[in-house]
Amino acid sequence: MTSATHPTESSSSEVIRVSNAGVSYRRRLSWFGNSNRLWALSDVSMSLHQGETLGVIGANGAGKSTLLRLLAGIIQTDRGTITRTNITVSLLSLQVGFIPDLSGRDNAILSGMLLGLRKRGIIARLDEIIEFSELGERILDPIRTYSTGMRARLGFAVALAVDPDVLLIDEVLGVGDADFAQKSRDAMQTRIQSNRTVVLVTHSESLLRSVCDRAILLHRGRTIADGDLDTVLLLYRRSRKKAEQENFAGVVKPDTEQDR
C-alpha cells in the first residue's frame, strides 16, 4: 500500500471501514468444497469519511463494481470485515423497478421506495421530480408511451430525489439527450461538491480531478494504493503502461482471472 497521505484522522468522522475484505462468486453450484470460487475482491481495505469524495480507479475487472455493491450492503464479505455507522448508503441507480404499464408518477413512487424513501417522502418530492424531469402532464401517462429520453429523465430525477447519506456512483453521471445530459451532470456535480459523502467509480480523469479529494487504486481485487488523487493516478498510469508493454511483448496471457 502506498503512502497514506490522507491518514485516518479523527475516526469519529469515519462512516465506513473495510478491512481485508474478500468477496467471492461461485462459478457454478457445487456440493463439495469451495474450489469453484472466483474472488472478485481478494484483499480490499479502505475507509470513507464524512463529507469526502473518494475516487475508485482500476482496470476493467479489478473489482470496482463489486466494491460498490459491498459498500451498498447488497452483498457481504466472504472474509474480512466491513463496518458502517448508522447511515444510509445507496448506489445511484436509474429506473429501478420501473413497470412499463404504470404511470410515471406511480413508477416514481415505486422506484423511490426501492431506493430508500418512504412513500410520503417521495410524494413530498413529486413536484420536484416532475419539474426536473421536464415531464409535465405526461407524468400521468404509462411509461411505455415515453421515449427513451423521457424515461431516462424520470429515472434520473427519482435517483436525485433519493439523496442518501453516502452516494455511490458507477460511471453514469449524465443521461438523456445532450441538453439533459448537461443538466443532469451539473446537478450531480453540485450534489457531489456540496458537503456530501460520495464514492465515485469512473475512467474520466477530468471528472476525478474536478471532484475527488482522494482515491484508491484496485488491481485484481486488491487495494494497491490509497492516497491523494495525483499520486494514485500516477501509479495507475504507470501500471497501465507496464501492462500495455507486457501485452505488446506478448508476455501477459489473456486475462485468466486466476483464483487466489
Binding site: Y25, R26, L29, R69, A72, G73, I74, I75, Q76, T88, V89, S90, L91, S93, V96, G97, I99, P100, D101, L102, D106, I109, L110, M113, L114, L115, G116, R118, K119, P142, P164
Partner: protein, 257 residues
C-alpha cells in the same frame, strides 16, 4: 438502503403500494383485464365438462358446479406458484442495484393474486346460491378455508421462490408439477368415490382437503369433513423454512448468475 433500513412498516408499505400498482398494470395490459380470471376457469370448465360428463360420462348431479368450485381456488394456487416460483430469478437485475428483502418479490405476486381471487370467488358463491342451493350456516367456514388455502399457497410459493435461484432448471418444470398436482387434488372427481388406501393416500394431499372443504361448505351445506389444521400447519412450516432460507441466502442471491 441495507437490511436494517427495511423495518416492517416499510415492507408493508412497499407491498401495499406495489400490489395496487401491479393490479393496475395488469388491468392495463389486457383488454379484458380482471375478467380473465373468470374467463379462464370458464374455458377450463367447458373443456373438462366435455371430457368428463359427455365423453367419459363420469359426471354426476351438479357436476358443473362441482368443477367450478374446485377450479377457481385451484387457479389461485397454480397462478400464484407459477408466477412467484421464478420471482427471485426474475429480479436479479434489480437486486444487484439495491438491497431488497428477498421475500418481498414472491409476496407481492401472492398479494396481487389474492386480490384477484377474492372477487372471483365471491362470484362463485353468488352462482352457487343462484343455482338453487340454499345458503346455510356452513358458509361461515369460508373465511377459515380461504385462510388455510392462503397459508398453504404462501408456504409453497416462498419455498419454491427460495430454491429456484439455486436450481434455475426447476422453473422449467413448475408447470408440469402443477399439472400433476392438479390431477392428484380431486379437482375433477370426488375423492370420496375412491376406495380404502387410495382414498387415504389422496387425503394426504392438503389441496384435496381444501377443495373438499370448499365443496362441503358450498354445495353440501355442511362443515368441512376433514380437519384443516394439518394443512394450515404445513403452510406455516413451509413459510417458516423458506423465510429462514431466504435470510441465510439474502446476500448470496445477488451473486447467483
Amino acid at each position: 438502503m441495507s437490511r436494517h433500513d427495511w423495518d416492517t412498516a416499510r415492507k408493508l408499505e412497499f407491498l401495499a403500494f406495489s400490489t395496487a400498482a401491479e393490479s393496475k398494470a395488469e388491468g392495463q395490459r389486457t383488454y379484458l383485464g380482471l375478467l380473465w380470471w373468470l374467463i379462464d376457469p370458464a374455458v377450463s370448465l367447458v373443456v373438462y365438462y366435455i371430457v368428463f360428463e359427455m365423453v367419459l360420462q363420469r359426471g354426476g348431479p351438479n357436476f358443473v358446479l362441482f368443477l367450478f368450485v374446485g377450479l377457481v381456488p385451484w387457479r389461485w394456487l397454480s397462478a400464484s406458484l407459477e408466477q412467484s416460483g421464478p420471482a427471485l430469478l426474475n429480479s436479479r437485475a434489480l437486486m444487484q442495484l439495491v438491497y431488497v428483502p428477498k421475500a418481498l418479490f414472491p409476496l407481492r405476486i401472492l398479494a396481487s393474486n389474492t386480490i384477484k381471487f377474492l372477487p372471483v370467488f365471491c362470484l362463485v358463491i353468488v352462482i352457487v346460491l343462484a343455482s338453487g342451493i340454499p345458503p346455510t350456516r356452513a358458509l361461515l367456514f369460508l373465511p377459515y378455508i380461504i385462510l388455510v388455502q392462503g397459508m398453504l399457497i404462501t408456504g409453497c410459493a416462498l419455498c419454491l421462490a427460495s430454491i429456484v435461484p439455486l436450481f434455475p432448471d426447476l422453473r422449467l418444470i413448475i408447470g408440469n408439477l402443477m399439472r400433476l398436482w392438479l390431477f392428484l387434488s380431486g379437482v375433477f372427481f370426488d375423492v370420496g368415490i375412491l376406495e380404502g388406501k387410495l382414498e387415504q393416500t389422496f387425503r394426504l394431499n392438503p389441496m384435496t382437503i381444501v377443495l373438499e372443504a370448499y365443496r362441503d361448505v358450498l354445495l353440501k351445506g355442511q362443515a368441512p369433513s376433514s380437519a384443516m389444521l394439518p394443512a394450515l400447519a404445513l403452510g406455516c412450516i413451509f413459510a417458516a423454512i423458506a423465510i429462514l432460507v431466504m435470510r441465510r441466502l439474502d446476500f448470496q442471491y445477488p451473486k447467483m448468475v
